[in-house]
């Protein structure tokens, strides 16, 4: 029961401080889910994030459902999912009811200018941390660079990238020894 409330409040925090969608939540997920609670490894967070892009629905919500289920089964998934959407419901309802010109408020606009800069720096730091723990071979490095170029400069859909890279991995990735040993268990 305690774990369920931990999941709810952790994802409540994540929902409350995610500015700008799926990717912006990663630095906080890294801190809360990986470093603080040890519910997932960095590699698992990347796997979950990839699957969340390809499953229907909102990426941040899907990631919450995945991590919740992994940690505490059905009820873990339920509490995490409700946790990540509750701040939005509260904040948007208050703003829609009382401050409908919220988005034009000059303090809001300036605060967002500052938040964007900090979030960009936080995401870059998380990217580098994840890169260090996930990229272990030159083939993987090649896949990462190809996927970056395809999305950043050719506007490829992340879904296509995930599917194509998965098929590529089936045929061209060699697992390091320790992982092979694990997979034979």
């Amino acid at each position: 029961m305690k774990r369920l409330f931990e999941l709810f409040f952790t994802f409540f925090k994540i929902g409350l401080f995610t500015f700008g969608g799926g990717y912006a939540m990663l630095p906080i997920i890294e801190r809360e889910v990986v470093d603080k609670h040890n519910w997932s490894t960095k590699e698992e967070v990347l796997d979950i994030f990839s699957m969340s892009q390809c499953t229907p629905g909102v990426i941040a919500v899907n990631s919450a459902t995945f991590i919740g289920n992994k940690t505490k089964g059905f009820f873990g998934a339920l509490f995490s999912t409700l946790g990540v959407v509750t701040p939005s419901i509260i904040i948007i309802t208050i703003i829609a009811a009382f401050f409908s010109n919220f988005a034009e408020n000059e303090y809001v606009i300036h605060a967002f200018g500052g938040v964007r800069i900090v979030v960009a720096a936080l995401i870059l730091r998380t990217c580098i941390n994840m890169f260090k723990s996930a990229i272990k071979s030159s083939v993987q490095l090649g896949v990462a660079i190809a996927s970056f170029l395809m999305v950043a400069f050719f506007g490829a859909s992340p879904i296509i990238i995930v599917i194509v890279s998965g098929l590529f991995g089936l045929f061209f990735i060699k697992l390091p020894k320790e992982e092979e040993a694990k997979s034979n268990v």
Binding site: T18, S50, G57, N62, I89, G114, C127, F148, A152
Partner: protein
């Protein structure tokens, strides 16, 4: 009541068929507005996007709460959001169970070793576009911005923020604290 049921059903469909982040739900909302102008108009939608982008929380969730509240009040906002997340909750739960069962399988591990690498590429490209949005204010669109939009002050703040958060004792500071400081600096510098 039947109108409330109908809008919940529309959001259930949106949750089931919209894939991807950010504004993936927007085309569904435009369609809803075409079929049910009494719920919200196109210009209401434009305001909803502006608010959803300038409040915390996932865009799709913010949009559905706003649309539900706007057309059917507080209960509407809660129910449309729950309707939006229900289909993905079920789908993700099923995929999650399958993944837990097969993730030690060698073939699955090979596929994910490659997907994980591709995800790093996705992350860096997201980082790249967030960086462009932060440091080239006024630039809209995709691809490379023109240098005219480059703002040295914004870039300097980005560089300082990145260096500070990588200094060893400061690494422990929670990302939320950095975000809060960013908001204050934004107001102080009128960014």
């Amino acid at each position: 009541m039947s109108s409330l049921l109908r809008i919940c059903f529309e959001f259930f469909k949106t949750g089931l068929f919209s894939v991807g982040g950010g504004l993936a739900t927007l085309p569904f909302l435009v369609r809803m507005s075409n079929h049910h102008p009494e719920w919200f108009s196109h210009s209401d939608l434009a305001n909803m996007v502006a608010v959803a982008e300038s409040t915390p929380g996932p865009m799709g969730v913010n949009m559905s709460t706003y649309a539900g509240y706007f057309s059917h009040g507080v209960i509407g906002g809660i129910l449309t959001t729950l309707s939006l997340v229900t289909p993905s909750f079920v789908v993700v739960l099923i995929i999650s169970r399958i993944w837990e069962k097969y993730k030690t399988n060698e073939k699955v591990q090979k596929a994910f070793a490659s997907i994980r690498a591709a995800a790093i590429g996705l992350l860096f490209s997201a980082c790249f576009s967030v960086f462009i949005a932060a440091v080239f204010p006024g630039f809209v669109g995709t691809g490379l911005p023109s240098f005219q939009n480059f703002n040295l002050l914004y870039f300097a703040l980005f560089a300082v923020a990145f260096v500070i958060m990588n200094i060893k004792p400061l690494k422990k500071i929670h990302p939320i604290a950095y975000i809060a400081v960013g908001a204050v600096i934004g107001i102080v510098f009128s960014l």
